[in-house]
């Protein structure tokens, strides 16, 4: 699905990531961890072509990202659900309209029943007409997750999806991610919350990638 071959990313003068080689196999569940500023977000951005590698090769769905046109990037992103820590909604549109946005921008209609089911799944049915600024952090995170999966993507990339919410809500979001993985989605979650990773490992076969010294390594089972 997504593969990195000897990828390096640098900006300014320093190298943030170097010699990264890995593959996200379909249906896998990965955590990406490491200290703040280690390059977790950068890694994710490389994985959805927001950033291009300084060297090496990033392949998304068998396409070299450096060869993608801007429209190709747009099309690729319709197959990747992205959940940001700060969610990124359009504040002037209702939650329902925000969730339908991936459909709207590709001139497709969203199915009202699917939308209804999805809102129920994340427990936000009562907020369909609310504006994003009126919602709490946890509600926004769940809404972001719902928006990410509405077009039925193959891959879900989540950047600190539990960064702004309490433990109970974190578990709820984790449960949603685990359910998605069981439905066959490839999941990559960047987090520095080791408890969350432990909790996940109890429920599912999850692998942990750790960024240390500019490299991404597969962490041992011990954590």
């Amino acid at each position: 699905m997504i593969s990195f071959e000897n990828v390096a990313y640098s900006y300014g003068g320093g190298e943030l990531l170097s010699d990264v080689s890995l593959k996200l196999a379909p249906g896998s569940f990965h955590f990406l961890t490491g200290p703040s500023g280690a390059g977790k977000s950068t890694f994710l951005k490389l994985a959805y072509a927001e950033l291009l590698p300084s060297s090496g090769r990033v392949t998304l769905f068998d396409n070299d990202v450096t060869k993608l046109s801007r429209d190709d990037v747009a099309r690729t992103r319709r197959r990747i659900g992205i959940v940001h820590q700060d969610c990124k909604f359009l504040d002037h549109m209702t939650l329902a309209a925000n969730m339908a946005l991936p459909f709207t921008v590709s001139d497709r209609e969203s199915d009202a029943q699917d939308m209804d089911d999805l809102l129920s799944w994340v427990g936000l049915k009562h907020l369909a007409d609310a504006l994003p600024p009126q919602m709490s952090g946890g509600e926004r995170q769940r809404a972001a997750l719902a928006r990410a999966v509405i077009v039925d993507p193959d891959v879900i990339l989540a950047d600190e999806p539990t960064g702004n919410v309490d433990w109970e809500m974190s578990l709820r979001i984790l449960t949603l991610l685990v359910e998605l993985n069981k439905m066959g989605k490839t999941i990559l979650v960047a987090t520095h919350d080791l408890n969350l990773i432990r909790q996940a490992k109890a429920q599912i076969q999850a692998r942990v990638l750790r960024i240390a010294k500019h490299r991404v390594q597969l962490a041992g089972a011990d954590l």
Partner: protein, 298 residues
């Protein structure tokens, strides 16, 4: 519970909705388009009027020439006969006519008032010559007149016609230049406004890119908005300009050879072309600005 409809029907309307309303600055684009189109109507009127003026003057003056005879009293009749005889044998002249004293008096009346004792004044004799097609050879006629009637001067009006026509075509050029400048200024202003709107909405654009929107989709939202605003403003401006031009006093009453600043005949259709033209300018300017700006974002 029935789920509320998330979106209205048309995809085009939806594209407009993804960009938040721009608030009180939105009318500035409309105003600019209106003001520019208003000015454009006058520039257009100026160009068309000067074009008409040039044609009218040229035509009126081109067909006729005047022979002026100034001679000692005892010579006047002899030389007049000589001139008329020369004209009668010159090819390329449709007709000629001696302007008699009564008519000369009438011509001079606006300048000297009625009751002019024309007999007491050394007023030159005037002979009007209307050229045929093909016209006579002016140089040849001049030389023959000099030989036959030394006091005769042929005035074929070229020295009047040329500067008038030149002035008129310069004015027309200025008008066209003004229209081009107004169009370019409008394009520049709309580009600036569009760039400002794009910069203000950078976060919105980022979200749209994140969920897989193509550049053309995002651009459409902005382009439609600015095109519609410009079209509205230009329509109001053109209407106001037309009212202004229509309200100008008609110059035909004041003098036959003057022409009023305004439109005539099919010329009235030109101002109606301005709003669509302004909309096309806005469409191209916004589209260019949008795609330039979007390239800066991933």
């Amino acid at each position: 519970m029935k789920f509320p409809k998330a979106k209205p029907a048309s995809p085009a309307t939806r594209a407009l909705e993804v960009v938040p309303p721009s608030g009180p600055t939105a009318w500035l684009t409309t105003f600019t388009a209106g003001a520019m189109t208003f000015l454009c109507v006058f520039a257009l009127a100026l160009s068309l009027a000067s074009g008409r003026l040039a044609t009218r003057w040229s035509e009126a003056l081109a067909k006729t020439a005047t022979i002026r005879l100034s001679a000692p009293v005892e010579q006047v009749q002899i030389q007049t006969d000589a001139i008329l005889a020369t004209l009668a044998t010159t090819p390329g002249i449709a007709s000629y006519r001696l302007i008699d004293d009564a008519e000369t008096k009438k011509l001079l009346e606006p300048w000297f008032g009625p009751g002019l004792p024309i007999e007491a004044l050394p007023i030159p004799r005037l002979i009007e010559v209307v050229e045929a097609d093909p016209p006579y050879d002016a140089e040849g006629l001049k030389q023959r007149l000099t030989a036959e009637a030394p006091g005769a001067v042929l005035d074929d009006h070229t020295r009047w016609r040329r500067p008038l026509a030149e002035a008129a075509s310069r004015i027309r050029l200025l008008g066209v230049l003004s229209i081009a400048l107004i169009g370019a200024t409008m394009a520049a202003m709309i580009t600036l406004a569009a760039r400002a709107a794009l910069a203000t909405n950078a976060e919105v654009i980022r979200v749209l890119r994140l969920v897989g929107a193509k550049d053309s989709y995002i651009a459409r939202a902005f382009v439609r908005r600015f095109t519609l605003r410009t079209l509205t403003g230009a329509a109001v401006g053109a209407a106001a300009g037309l009212v202004g031009v229509a309200a100008l006093p008609a110059a035909d009453a004041a003098g036959g050879f003057l022409t009023g600043l305004g439109f005539s005949g099919t010329g009235w259709l030109w101002p109606f072309a301005l709003p669509p033209l302004a909309a096309i300018v806005a469409f191209l300017a916004t589209r260019r600005a949008a795609f330039q700006k979007l390239k800066e974002l991933t």
